[in-house]
Amino acid sequence: MTDTTIALPVKRRRPRGAFNALGLFSLAVLLFWLLAAVIGPTLIANTGSSMGEAPVFAPVSAVHWFGTDFLGRDMFARVVQGARYTVGVALSATLLASGSGTLLALLAAASGRWLDAVLSRAIDTLTSVPGKMFALIMVAAFGSSMPTLILTAAIIYLPGAYRIARSLAVNIDAMDYVTVARTRGEGRLYIMLREILPNIVGPMLADLGLRFVYVVLLLASLSFLGLGVQPPAADWGSLVRENIGALPTGGAAIIMPALSIASLTIAVNLLIDNLPGRSVRGAN
């Protein structure tokens, strides 16, 4: 009996399903980039690959909103073109990695014993393969395409998501309410999705936000090795790298793609922290 329970007046919450201001803002940023990825290339006539019309590393102007790059191409067009790769590939790879990692972890926790052991050791084996080496093999075998890149990044980041989700799920699995569900005769799927998943989804979403940043970085480094998105197309990470020459002069060409990456990752993380029904401190 530690008297920690204090009779507080009933908390009046925001109605369930409503976003707060910060959540709405981050949602808007995310939607903007998603839109750019999906319909951006068709809206912008300038493909961003014509050269020679503008000076190299031009500053921000009415014509070139984001300046120009090391070949004099319009940076805004380049960034919008790149959104497809960064938002599309990175976001879907992250969702795939976290989603399948969580599902496998739930299966392992709810099944226990040998299935848990087999799954965990198999996934541990994956972690022993260096990520970039694995990507090299994948690209060599299947060529560099968006599906290959998504799958590759997802496989590289799945073990981490699995490990975190499994340790969370195993703790929840030991709770009495899961035991009650078991003695009721509930199936494995119900226990996984109804009893355990809602209680680990908070930390898993936080992990997803973090993992997303790593996938963006992985894509950029793959492009650097010539394994990722192939020139002249470029994801945002590659845009930062190819315009690295603008760094000493503080050119827009390097700042703008970097800002784009920052705005996307911050938006994803802010959105996760401000999802409706979740208090920021995670306690309910």
Binding site: T2, I6, L8, D176, R184, N284
Partner: protein, 537 residues
């Protein structure tokens, strides 16, 4: 040597989004040197908050908003934060409820016991260790010379609680705060710990504050009792006056809840020709190589309540788990309503599972925090009965009514309920399956006396009205006696005796049952002195 403690006009508030809310209101009391004052009340009454305030400390989100606290010559609330830190552990010492959670598992006991003297630079380490050994001896700890070299997990819970007292007393504090120090212990262990505490407190003439919800325990320890409710003092008086002639209504209800009370038995269809509902034959079970239960036989008739009693590690919870199908027995069989039950959950039919439900001790971990009460109660109804729509809603309302909860609770999450309410929801979930047998694992031991008594009343009433049977697991003989028709006494995984209701008070009984019976604290002064030494051993 203790100091005078004076508290006047103490107000503590909690910050909420609607502004400050008072949790302790205008409290005044004075403790003479060497006296023990008990703070008593239910969860949320502000007793721990008050005790912590004596160290100038308020929990996160709380604030001491007014009043003064003086320990001897020191004005605690007037001190700067650094001076308050110097006060804590030196002038005021605190003994928490869970010693297991208060010790660092990776450091030796001696390191931790002498730590306060080192932090406050009171004496050289060798001197502190010698003093610690003397304290261990005073607290009747086994092998006082060497116990300090052990690690917290190498000693028992009762020993750890006494080691924590040694840690608190090593600086010769002027005020000792004991916050429910025996609540987490078995009754038999509780006696030795209470004895040790009382002896050191008396010998050192320390001023002490004893926080508890258990009046019977407090009656052994305290000179004066302060009854708190909702942060307001209800009554303050000498221990004799409070337990013999309480003036306040609330104090009277506390006393009533603490009195042993027989609850009506209901209809038991026992007798010669009737087959038992549950029959456990020669049951042995355990985890891996370790055997926990050995050769248990048990018969339970429809409508009957059987209590299973024993201390921690006696195997009583394992018995309930084996009956529930959570542990496959190594030997023996479980026959339910004339048919042998499968040993695992998978081997049992849905109907078998429906007829046996389980209610756990910790209401917190037994309710999924992400589901509303309505959803928690709806699931067994959908699962077993296929109810939906209006009949489902109606049945949920009916269940809530059955466990005496308001229907408005249905839309809340478990986090917004009190301990007693949660335990009622747990019961309602079990009842939703319309079971023949409910396995109750320590259902009231995490609750206050008053709340626990209300839950027991409810369970007795449900038995009368619905004819449901209980297998009631508890370490508290007092609880078991009040609701059960028969008591099975267990120790070290074996069944020692079975006592029928008519014989609860009549002997002769198995010596272990006698020991358990004598270990239940009685609500009178001097009980601790009367308990034979053999019990405490």
């Amino acid at each position: 040597m203790g100091a005078v403690v004076t508290v006047s006009g103490l107000n503590i508030v909690a910050a909420t989004r609607f502004g400050d809310m008072a949790i302790v209101k205008d409290l005044n009391f004075r403790i003479e040197p060497g006296e023990v004052l008990a703070l008593i009340g239910e969860s949320g009454s502000g007793k721990t908050t008050t005790a912590l305030a004596l160290m100038g400390y308020a929990r996160d989100g709380c604030r001491i908003s007014g009043g003064s606290i003086r320990i001897g010559e020191v004005d605690v609330l007037g001190l700067a934060p650094a001076q308050q830190r110097a006060l804590r552990g030196r002038t005021v010492a605190y003994i928490a409820q869970s010693a297991a959670a208060s010790f660092n598992p990776s450091r030796s006991i001696m390191d931790q016991v002498v730590e306060p003297t080192q932090i406050h630079a009171l004496m050289p380490r060798a001197e502190a260790e010698a003093k610690a050994v003397a304290l261990f001896r005073e607290l009747a700890l086994p092998d006082p010379e060497n116990i300090g070299a052990r690690y917290p997990h190498q000693v028992s819970g009762g020993q750890l609680q006494r080691l924590m007292a040694a840690m608190a007393l090593i600086t010769d504090p002027e005020l000792v705060i004991l916050d429910e120090p025996t609540t987490a212990l078995d009754v038999t262990t509780q006696i030795e710990v209470l004895r040790a505490f009382r002896r050191v407190v008396r010998e050192r003439r320390a001023t002490a504050v004893y926080v508890s919800h258990d009046l019977a325990v407090v009656a052994q320890m305290a000179d004066h009792i302060l009854v708190l409710r909702d942060g307001v003092m209800r009554e303050l008086g000498s221990t004799e006056q409070i337990i013999e002639a309480p003036r306040n209504d609330y104090t009277q209800s506390l006393l009533a809840a603490a009195q042993p009370k027989m609850r009506d038995a209901g209809q038991v269809s026992g007798g010669a020709g009737v087959a038992p509902l549950l029959e456990v034959k020669g049951l042995s079970a355990g985890y891996g190589q370790k055997t926990i239960l050995e050769n248990i036989d048990l018969k339970l008739y429809r409508g009957q309540a059987i209590g299973v009693i024993g201390e921690s590690g006696s195997g009583k919870t394992t018995l309930a788990r084996a009956v529930a199908g959570l542990i496959a027995p190594a030997k023996g069989s479980i026959v339910f309503d004339g048919r042998q039950l499968g040993t695992t959950l998978q081997a049992r039919s849905k109907e078998d599972l429906r007829r046996i439900q389980i209610v756990f001790q910790m209401a917190d971990t037994a309710l999924n925090p992400s589901q509303t009460i309505e959803r928690i109660l709806a699931r067994p109804l959908q699962f077993y009965k296929g109810l939906s729509g209006a009949p489902l809603k109606a049945r949920i309302a009916q269940l809530l009514d059955l466990v005496q909860l308001p229907a408005t609770l249905a839309q809340r999450f478990p986090g917004g309920l009190s301990g007693g309410q949660k335990q009622r929801v747990n019961l309602a979930r079990a009842l939703a399956a319309e079971p023949d047998l409910i396995l109750c694992d320590e259902v009231t031991s995490a609750l206050d006396t008053v709340v626990g008594a209300a839950v027991l009343d409810l369970m007795a009433q449900l038995r009368r009205e619905l004819g449901v049977s209980y297998l009631f697991i508890s370490h508290d003989l007092h609880t078991v006696r009040s609701v059960c028709d028969e008591i099975v006494v267990m120790q070290h995984g074996r069944k020692l005796a079975q006592v029928a209701r008519a014989d609860f008070e009549r002997g002769p009984h198995h010596p272990y049952y006698e020991q358990l019976a004598r270990s239940v604290p009685e609500l009178r002064r001097g009980w601790l002195d009367d308990v034979p030494a053999a019990v405490a051993a």
